[in-house]
Amino acid sequence: MSRPKLAVWKFASCDGCQLSLLSAEDELLTLAAEVHIAHFLEATREVAPGPYDVSLVEGSITTPADVERIQRVREISTTLVTIGACATAGGIQALRNLADVEAYRALVYAHPEYVQTLARSSAIAEHVPVDLELRGCPVEVPQLIEVVSALLAGRKPLIPTHAVCVECKLRGNVCVMVADGTPCLGPVTQAGCGARCPAFARGCYGCFGPMETPNPSALTDRLHAMGVDDPTLVRLFRTFNVDAPAFRTEARRREAIDAGADGRTP
């Protein structure tokens, strides 16, 4: 019986998510026996053409070539899973979506005419249908193994979509926001990390992006009442998941409040 074929694709990213696959040391040997890991479309075109049973896609879309390539990946993939903040929300490089890309390009490169880039860094799902999104910056190894195992077994992966707060309470942490007044994105961020930062008295900074049906306005209103200023609140949402819709919208709302545009006193 032929083994299912797994492919890993990289777009604009730091490689951290696909390295998480290599970090699954204990499961790696087992995994290598269960699936045929075929990485690159072009490298395998001659010997092992698609389709692939499972494609893991890391990274965001930032160039015209990326736009074409992701279409090809979609065509030859039965199941397409995006992994990490870049693939699911555009990643940290989506911070440039807020800036003038032309000015930026001229600043950064000696010969900007050679640089072909899109105005925005965007999530994979903006370009092709995605079967499953696995969050995190980077993804967590156990969740990645869970997804691959579930797909191999033909079942639905068990990935929670509730808030980090749930994990934080289960872990028995003292709430950093209530006890110390530390700004924390835990109430609006999807679980998965085990509430790592609050366990060490740091506020959550949103690596996993927005949870299902978050209420970020309630959170920032509360933080504002606690004395956190608007520029800090805006920055809080503008990190690795800056372009995730719920975070993007809330950052804009606070920005408008800061500018006095909504009629409220800053």
Partner: protein, 478 residues
């Protein structure tokens, strides 16, 4: 041709290494350029953000060595706060960096290079990868996986997680190191020492097969740069910079990284996107190449007198017996990496016995006391410098990151040029040459996404450029 020139301003690295070979009027290869898009996107979008965020943000430049950025960013933050972290925090950071070097070198050696070195450069590419190695040499592959895992566990113990850890901060670290963490690390030490020394024996036993690579992969004179203690002991995070000439004489010793601009220039080339740092006193005019220097494992063991730990020093002595006091070939980066793996295990073991590591005070608090701060350390691939300027509120106004892979750029170009001169004949590009270039570039373990794809060949695009700028030939291997 636009494929060759397409780069993205924010992704610090693309999926493809881009190499252009420039022919001279005589039809011979006159120049080679290795194109990398650098971290410049980060240098722009970090502006306006608080210095305290820099460890977390800059770690995202790279999933392979995020710890190096955590450390350099935190040290730059220390300088801006004008604080000295508590002794326990300094030791925790030392431990963290050792774990990082250990895991990254293990990845480079076992997952990326061992398939070439152990299965042979001509082995079937379909299985010349870490999974092929697992089948052909399961014990060796397992050793590599365990060494990397151990390094990652050391990282997780200090930073909270393996990739993009969050617990290193300006002023120190975020939590106390516990005896439970120590016990987990200590339990594995004997196995790791055994795995590391067995790896060195294995490498030494096969190195003779690569006589040709030894002499054709970057065998040339260059300056060497890296951290080092004043007495010449190998150092990775706390010392200052030593700059050594090709013949082993000292050019500059114990340079404070804060003053790096005094001796290093950054060439903004007209035909590349990458700035090439160079040693300023050797450069007169626009061509930075006379100021070429190498950083990373080979540079570090060339400029240090000793590791300062017994087993690594024994290996270093044997290495010097064989290759001389200054090893010139970049092929020997592999050997240097394995020696550093041993040194890291020995130093981690020593730190586990140090009572200061476990002290409760791990963070110094302060406000913005300086408007510029430079943080430097040895990343696995070489010296990393973060240079920040801030306003009175601690918001970044200017940022410069000097990355190990960028500093090796001139040496990588030279290595490719040497290989190309040997393998390019007329306006043709052959697959044999691509294989050689791949192995030559990989010796530097450049921090490129393409060099870290553990499975398959290094994706790259090579183009041959005529003196008038016309592209004569182009080969692309994805």
């Amino acid at each position: 041709m636009h494929d060759i020139h397409t780069i993205d301003p924010v992704t610090r690295i693309e999926g493809h290494a881009k190499i252009t070979l420039h022919l001279g009027d005589d039809g011979e290869v006159a120049d080679a350029r290795f194109h990398v898009t650098e971290f410049r996107g980060f240098e722009e979008f970090c502006k306006g953000r608080p210095v305290a965020e820099m460890p977390g943000l800059t770690a995202r430049t790279c999933g392979i060595c995020p710890v190096s950025h955590l450390i350099a960013a935190s040290k730059a933050g220390d300088a801006i706060y004008a604080v000295t972290p508590p002794p326990a925090a300094i030791r925790q950071r030392r431990l963290l960096n050792l774990g990082q070097i250990l895991q990254s070198h293990s990845l480079s050696f076992f997952h990326l290079s061992a398939p070439d070195l152990l299965l042979g450069m001509d082995h079937d590419p379909a299985t010349r990868n870490v999974f092929g190695l697992m089948q052909a040499e399961p014990e060796i592959a397992r050793r590599g996986i365990r060494l990397r895992q151990f390094g990652q566990e050391v990282i997780a113990a200090v930073a909270g997680q393996r990739i993009h850890g969050s617990l290193v901060v300006p002023g120190g670290v975020a939590r106390q190191f516990t005896t439970e963490m120590r016990d987990r690390i200590v339990a594995d030490l004997d196995e790791m020492m055994g795995a590391a020394t067995a790896t060195l024996e294995l490498l030494v036993s096969v190195e003779d097969r690569f006589e040709r690579e030894l002499h054709s992969f970057g065998e040339f004179d260059s300056i060497y740069v890296g951290h080092c203690l004043p007495d010449g002991t190998w150092e990775h995070i706390d010392g200052k910079l030593r700059i050594m000439a090709a013949d082993g004489s000292m050019l500059v010793d114990q340079l404070d990284p804060h003053d790096y601009r005094e001796v290093f220039g950054e060439a903004g080339k007209t035909d590349s996107y990458l700035k090439s740092p160079y040693y300023r006193p050797y450069v007169d005019g626009d061509d930075p190449r006379p100021g070429m220097y190498r950083v990373g494992p080979l540079a570090r063991i060339n400029l240090a007198e000793r590791f300062g730990t017994p087993v690594a020093d024994e290996g270093l002595a044997a290495f010097r017996e064989r290759y001389g006091r200054i090893a010139r070939s970049s092929f020997l980066y592999h050997h240097a990496r394995v020696l550093e793996v041993i040194a890291c295990v020995e130093r981690i073991a020593a730190l586990m016995e140090d009572p200061v590591l476990f002290e409760e005070k791990v963070r110094s608090q302060a406000g913005i006391n300086a408007l510029r701060g430079v943080g430097a350390s040895e990343a696995p691939r070489g010296t990393l410098i973060h240079d920040y300027e801030v306003d009175g509120n601690g918001l970044i106004t200017a940022m410069n990151l000097i990355i190990a892979t960028g500093q090796n750029d001139l040496a990588v170009n030279r290595t490719i040029l040497d290989i190309a001169r040997e393998f390019v004949d007329g306006p043709q590009l052959t697959d044999g040459m691509l294989n050689r270039i791949e192995a030559g570039v990989r010796a530097y373990d450049p921090c490129l996404s393409c060099s870290t794809h553990a499975v398959g060949q290094m994706p790259m695009a090579v183009s041959l450029i005529a003196p008038d700028g016309e592209t004569l030939a182009e080969v692309r291997r994805d």
